[in-house]
Symmetry: C2
Subunit: 127 residues, 2 copies
DNA sequence: ATACATGCAAAGAATTTGCAGCTTG
DNA sequence: CAAGCTGCAAATTCTTTGCATGTAT
């Protein structure tokens, strides 16, 4: 399955690069739709998946909300506000080699991990 | 909203206590349905939510799969097999006070975090 | 040419919700 | 008896898929 270089795929990558961090598929769709009203939402999802698989972008799975997509390459984590659902970046010193510390069922191959925080964002706290 | 002590709520709690770890709402539903064929799925979801909120059980949000529910009290994390979707417990030495290490937007209140791993389980590796 | 992609609409999976009637305190 | 619940079905939300047509290589 050799990949093609389609207009739509480039638009999606371009959008992720242009828009603010951790956008949802829906946001990418609305963004691109402004200039390309006929793009289909399925195409957005398909291309986000392909780009993430190729490592061009990063898929961030947010518990309790739609997946987000990042262009950022370096590792960072996220907090989700339990009131409004907004997602923010958080910084944290690299955890010392988490992958070598885990113990799972015998023979389990560990590939990846993610840490996600929950909290209440400044705006929601003062309401 | 004072809580009542309903048969259904007790059945759900009982089910979580009886069944193996990290079960899905669907599994709880099927389990209870054996003896109470008229229980509604909405009731299962509502009660799982209430019990989790009360701290009687723990909700574990699995990226890319349905929520799981645990009776286990102590902290532990999970791996999800990317091939078959099965979820396993993992053990890891307590991380030294992650909550005090995070830096988020100014004024963000951090409440909780979870770590989730991905991997390939023994069964799927040998297939 | 021909395999891969697209747009559109419909299907799916997980969960939530509206509502009339039933229960618990 | 009033506030909570329940069962049921329909609605929501996010994402995937089938298919006829389009297009990059």
């Amino acid at each position: 399955m050799k990949r093609r270089n389609t207009i739509q795929r480039n638009l999606v990558l371009e959008a992720i690069r242009t828009m603010k961090s951790h956008v949802t598929a829906e946001e990418v769709f609305e963004f691109i739709r402004k200039n390309h009203p006929h793009i289909g939402k399925g195409t957005i999802y398909r291309n986000l998946g392909i780009l993430a698989e190729e490592g061009e972008i990063r898929r961030v799975e947010i518990p309790d909300g739609p997946d987000r997509f990042d262009f950022t390459l370096k590792d960072h984590y996220h907090v989700r506000c339990i009131r409004c659902g907004e997602v923010f970046d958080v910084k944290m010193d690299a955890l010392s080699d988490l992958m070598s510390k885990v113990r799972g069922p015998r023979g389990m191959e560990f590939l990846d991990y993610d840490i996600s925080f929950k909290g209440i964002c400044p705006d929601c706290r003062t309401e």
